[in-house]
Symmetry: C2
Subunit: 379 residues, 2 copies
């Protein structure tokens, strides 16, 4: 359980409703097959799904490094499918259940490599999901191509999709921009592969062959969920999703059928410390610059009513009025944004960058005055 109250419980799980499906098994691992387990969950009940399905690698023989050592590949049965057809059927089955379980404003993330991601992406689209982005996880330290026969396979792909073209969804734009040093977060992310202390081992052997780095889930949950949201991971493995969800004050549900993985996941998540509420609030909307109305600059005498603003090329002129509205030469009146759009005959306009004031014979955007005001007034 995270530290944040679960205030967004699905209605279907509330007491006293006529239909009384199972309440959501929050913050716990469901044992068993992922499709069967998802069928038992109520419709429109989770805010986000993160899925790391089998990749269907279809590896051939053994592979040795140039120094003769053996490469420990993914040979687990859960990654084996008889054919692309079988893999497609499996993929469509679990993606369809996921669509049913997702709230209408929920989103899904799926990770894969070139072996399977095209099957997954096509199924996602066919099932009516609407792809919002695909994201490239660039591995800082990938395994080389030992035989020198191809390019080093140095990335994996994630697909982020909403339930449909018109569906709403959560995207914490400010959090991402802050995380990326005040530049928009791009669709290519770099992380090291999971190793070191984070990599779960038992008797020196990795517990799970494909454990994902927590940094990856951290960014995803921070970007696309709110505190208290419910995150489902149908291929839970050793519980990276659960551990990060708990740290970030999100609820989680895992589905897993291998007892070894479940045991490791439970121990790991129990040890994950939730961040305190104030830290979460900070991350939710960090450094969100306080909004300044244009009128405040007038009130504070940064600009004087009656003064004239122009665009950068002095094609358009407008007079400042006492309430912070503008009056153009042609008689139109409006806010800095509205009037900027009107005079340009454009559908929209950012008045802060469009309108300029004159100072020492030079034109500067009024946004510069806003910055000056912020610097003078912020603690």
């Amino acid at each position: 359980m995270g530290v944040i109250e679960k205030i967004r419980q699905p209605r279907v799980a509330a007491r006293g409703t006529v239909a009384t499906p199972e309440p959501l098994p929050l913050d716990s691992i469901i044992r068993g097959d992922c499709i069967a387990a998802m069928r038992a969950l109520p419709a429109k009940s989770v805010d986000m799904i993160f899925a790391d399905p089998p990749y269907n690698l279809q590896l051939g023989g053994e592979l040795f490094r140039p120094d003769g050592t053996h490469v420990d590949a993914v040979t687990d049965d859960w990654d084996k499918f008889d054919s692309l057809k079988h893999y497609d059927a499996f993929t469509r089955a679990w993606l369809a259940e996921a669509h049913r379980i997702l709230k209408d404003d929920g989103t899904i993330w799926v990770i894969g490599s070139y072996h399977n991601i095209y099957r997954v992406g096509a199924a996602v689209q066919d099932l009516g999901y609407w792809i919002l982005n695909d994201i490239v996880w660039r591995k800082a330290n990938p395994m080389p191509n030992f035989r020198g026969t191809r390019f080093t396979n140095a990335h994996e792909t994630l697909i982020w999709a909403s339930k449909g073209e018109k569906a709403k969804y959560t995207f914490n734009y400010r959090s991402m921009k802050t995380l990326n040093d005040e530049l928009q977060m791009r669709s290519d992310w770099e992380f090291p592969i999971c190793g070191g202390q984070e990599r779960l081992k038992r008797d020196g052997v990795k517990v799970h062959p494909t454990q994902k780095p927590e940094a990856l889930l951290y960014r995803i949950l921070l970007a696309c969920t709110k505190p208290g949201d419910v995150v489902l991971d149908p291929f839970f493995g050793t519980g990276t999703t659960g551990a990060v969800a708990r740290r970030l004050g999100r609820s989680w549900i895992g589905i897993e059928r291998e007892e070894d993985y479940i045991a490791a996941a439970e121990q790991r998540i129990a040890a994950a410390l939730p961040l305190d509420e104030s830290a979460l609030a900070t991350m939710q909307s960090p450094r969100a610059a306080p909004k300044v109305a244009f009128g405040v600059l007038v009130e504070n005498a940064y600009l004087t009513p009656g003064a004239v603003l122009t665009d950068a090329k002095r094609r358009f002129r407008a007079t400042i009025r006492a309430d912070g509205s503008l009056l153009s030469d042609c008689g139109a009146i409006g806010s800095i944004h509205k009037l900027g759009a009107t005079v340009q005959n454009a559908p929209a306009c950012n008045g802060w960058s469009f309108w300029h004031y004159e100072s020492d014979g030079k034109l500067a955007p009024i946004d510069a005055l806003r910055q000056t005001y912020l610097l003078a007034t912020q603690p």
Copy 2:
């Protein structure tokens, strides 16, 4: 025409064969629909196909920047498809023709974004192609997400595939490693989007909405073709593929139906200067050292029959015999590679790096002697 002789003409185009299909229209643009044009080309006749198909963007309304300027999105008629079904049918049709036209040891490259690449990738696999890598083109200067509703879409994806799982293909490993500062070339490439002098414009308006940077094609052609190879681009546009192919001494065939694009492409390619043969040779196989048999070192007295080699830790010993074979202490006999594998009980071994000789009390790999020999004998 590149400067390199076309020595790999398809046999079907040779004179005097019973079946006399059209000879390949090398270094020219075929006017018309890409599927129809491909049907007229002979089977197994081209070495590589680069395809930049319509992206099926299905943009809704118009898009404006925050400053009100219009974003010239891809709204041309050729990029509209009624549905995913139509797009899939189109994709499978041209990919099937491409498969027929490709030589058995040829490869195909297709570029796309999340709007279409999953359709393309699934079709590629369904048609029997074997994906070798997917490559991420990270745009150094992508267009921001103006509305702040998603991650900046900062990459496009390329799929590289052979004709089948067992098919051979060209991959100039050394060229790529050299190009990447002596590290293996990874699957994530960074280039700026096409702009500046390279961007074709007419009356200040860009001729083609999605002109690809030449650097992208340069790397692809350098990696996966040989001088004189025939490269087909079924969505030729303004001819980036042709311009780079000519510079690199490859032959090219373009298919395009828009006369405006054809005119721009022809002018552009005519201005592209082919590199001279020596420059191409260097890039083709840089530092490709001639092979030296171990026995040659013995013949030339770099090592003496009867001398003893060991591994780096002196765990294993072997005596050099007059014919260049080795005799281990336990009585096994074999080549430097074979005996190295035998004594280590390993499936394979590079004898050049495994076996060491002693010089001034220090051990050095016998590969050092090979280098010395090469330096002494190469002009």
